[in-house]
């Protein structure tokens, strides 16, 4: 038997798909370079400057990701989504949304299952709304917009997700 417990896998097809977009952009660069070499060089310098500015925040993003992967298990929290629109359920749903990572479509089946087990529409809406808050991306946000703006946006986003949860509870009765 072969143990795959924590194995790292590489899906080559999806890896290739991810290269299509940057590949297309590079092709555009190639075309622009032929037509307007100075413009292409200016564009490339501008991109390089952006990348260099983001190196330190990206390093912080990586560090936060490591901590989140080490200590937080959102799938565990999702299992405790409550049956009513209670404070405990709201807090757990919001926390699970905030720490959840990865593409949203991977979460739909799990949320569907949780709803079958009694999780309310409102708490699922709170979970989905709070996915907008990405703690591990805060260094990038702060480097661009400043901490005051980021703190306010985070506060209003969390409050907004609770409002959506409440309204979903009213408009789409479970």
């Amino acid at each position: 038997m072969k143990t795959e417990g924590s194995g790292i896998f590489v899906d080559k097809r999806s890896d290739l798909k991810k290269l299509v977009f940057p590949g297309c952009v590079l092709m555009i660069y190639g075309i622009v370079f032929v037509i307007n070499p100075a413009g292409a060089a200016m564009a490339f310098r501008s991109s390089t400057a952006i990348l260099l500015n983001l190196m330190v925040p990206l390093g912080l993003v990586f560090t936060l990701m490591v901590f989140m992967n080490l200590f937080l298990k959102p799938t565990h929290i999702v299992r405790f989504l409550g049956k009513g629109f209670s404070s405990k359920g709201i807090i757990l749903s919001a926390a699970a949304g905030i720490i959840s990572m990865g593409p949203i479509y991977a979460w739909y089946p799990l949320l569907k299952e949780m709803r079958k087990k009694g999780a309310t529409n409102s708490l699922i809406a709170v979970f989905l709304g709070n996915r907008a808050v990405k703690p591990f991306l805060l260094p990038i946000m702060i480097s661009y917009f400043g901490w005051v703006y980021v703190a306010l946006l985070t506060l209003f986003t969390i409050s907004g997700s609770l409002a959506v949860g409440y309204l979903v509870n009213t408009l789409a009765k479970d």
């Binding site: 038997m1 072969k2 924590s6 991810k18 940057p22 990586f62 298990k73 299992r79 809406a125 209003f156």
Partner: protein, 262 residues
Amino acid sequence: MKIAVSSDSSNLNARVAQRFGISPYLIIVDPETMEIEAIPNPGAAGKQAAGVQAVVLAISKEVDAVLTGYCSPTAVKYLADNGIDVVAGVKGTVAEAVAQYRKQARAIPARSMDEPDFVGAALLHALKRSGMQIANLLPIFVGVVLLIGLFNAFISKDLLSSIFSGNALLDTLFGTGLGSILAGNPLNSYVIGGEMLERGVSLFAMTAFITAWVTIGLIQLPAEMAALGKKFALIRNVLSIVLCMVISILTVLTYYAVLVWN
């Protein structure tokens, strides 16, 4: 201890199914008593996200290990995140697989989570996962940054001013519209948003853009409707559009108020 085995039918003598996600049954076995619970796999039909449905079933049954022929990387990731040991490449009957797993489990001394090698392995795993997550982000991220470079070089501020006029309501509306139809990692929205500001686009438009990017999923709407129901998905997304605009305006007005206050 509970062991889940993907299986072709509902008893201990059934063959181990070779695809975890679409196996007809999951048999939950107590290896001490060999009592079983055979559960039809909701993902057996092989529709969208079949593997994740089997994962949810295994997690909800609180099993300690999954034995199967093959398990997708995504399913392995979710199972491992929930502390479930995944053993692939298993052949023979369910009973044989469980017996073999017990034999191997006994050969491995039990470890405490406080032991240094366990902590080291967990850290290594977290580092590997984070490295993969960053590596997954990078191609699109680099493409976006290169595109912004072209944008900066060739799109004039006047053109942007003709779209984003500086009117708070209209800019919020346009920003929300643009963010709603685009999707992907929020990292890209922050970089684009930051550059929008550099090019003179208003904070209202930029805030609405980055908020809509992550809260409204028009591209994912069909998947959300399929999983959570049309009514729920439509109500949630319509409410999110309205709330996105409200959040953006409130955030920017409060931000300006804080700036004036200081």
